[in-house]
């Protein structure tokens, strides 16, 4: 997205223009959701955090500076919300460790259908990415997937560009190692997972 387009969107949002909000929403909704989904690895959490991110944009729309880079602003809010959620959920898990078996849910993502339809390489990359710690995952997602500039990604993560460069380097090495470790899953296994899941 061009900075001029961003400036026009931000100007519209500052004026409380619903059409400007709609344009921003269409541009960034899927990007934010994908980012949050891969970060949290839970559809429910990603949906909730996505809602909160957009509501925060609306609440702060008039206070945005005219030169705000909307992508960086949104990803910063989404990322901070994720880390806040993570800290609170870790506290809850430690406080209720003995009760965890009462909850039947596991991570709802990815579904067996997603696993089967994704290409083998994509599946391996998804698995390898999911195995990384969240701070490495977020760096790879921001720079590698969302193609934010390094300075934008550094601002989103609240670190210096130099620290970002080091973190990216480590994350990339971790991903490469995880990809080497990830076993190839036979297609038959994925098909069985679908049959079991959908009862066909």
């Amino acid at each position: 997205m061009q900075p001029d387009d961003d400036a026009a969107l931000v100007a519209g949002l500052r004026a409380g223009d619903a059409a400007a909000f709609d344009r921003a929403y269409e541009l960034y909704r899927a990007r934010l959701f994908t980012f949050l989904l891969r970060l949290s690895r839970s559809t429910t959490v990603a949906e909730d955090l996505l809602d909160e991110t957009w509501l925060r944009l609306v609440a702060h729309a008039r206070a945005l500076r005219p030169d705000t880079r909307l992508a960086a602003w949104l990803f910063t809010v989404a990322r901070n919300l994720y880390w806040t959620h993570r800290r609170s959920s870790q506290f809850e898990e430690s406080a209720t460790a003995g009760l965890l078996t009462l909850w039947p849910a596991g991570p709802r993502w990815p579904s067996p259908f997603d696993l089967a339809t994704a290409s083998e390489l994509q599946r391996r990359v998804e698995d390898a990415l999911a195995s990384l710690p969240p701070d490495h995952r977020e760096v790879l997602l921001l720079v590698g997937y969302e193609e934010l500039t390094p300075s934008e990604a550094a601002a989103v993560c609240g670190v210096t560009p130099e620290a970002m460069r080091k973190r990216l380097s480590r994350a990339r090495a971790d991903l490469a190692a995880a990809l080497d470790r990830a076993p190839a899953q036979p297609a038959k296994k994925a098909r069985f997972a679908i049959k079991r899941s959908y009862g066909t």
């Binding site: 409380g16 619903a18 909000f21 709609d22 929403y25 909704r29 899927a30 990007r31 959701f33 994908t34 989904l37 949906e47 996505l50 809602d51 957009w54 509501l55 944009l57 609306v58 609440a59 729309a61 008039r62 997603d114 994704a118 390489l121 994509q122 990359v125 998804e126 990415l129 790879l140 997602l141 720079v143 590698g144 997937y145 193609e147 390094p150 990604a153 970002m164 460069r165 990216l168 380097s169 990339r172 991903l175 490469a176 990809l179």
Partner: protein, 86 residues
């Protein structure tokens, strides 16, 4: 690793090829409507808050200037009295 070199990297290329996900159409529409309502409801509220803040700061400034003038006048009179009459 230089972040600007990520375009020549097979690992980063593989990342770029990953699928993009989105929420359901129903959920997306609900959230949009909620944000529209919030955007519409915020306008007069924000203006009211800004007006109140402006009025408060002006009032504070007036009181401060008035107090400073009183102190200045009192001190001038006191010194004049001390010089001429005592």
């Amino acid at each position: 690793m230089n972040p600007s070199d990520t375009h020549d990297d097979p690992i980063m290329d593989a990342l770029r090829e990953l699928h993009r996900w989105d929420v359901s159409a129903v959920r997306a529409r609900r959230l949009r409507e909620r944000c529209h309502r919030s955007l519409a409801a915020q306008q007069p509220l924000t203006r009211g808050r800004q007006d109140r803040a402006t009025t408060l700061s002006r009032r504070t400034l007036r009181v401060a200037v008035g107090a400073w003038c009183c102190v200045y006048l009192f001190e001038t009179l006191r010194r004049a009295a001390a010089f001429y009459w005592f």
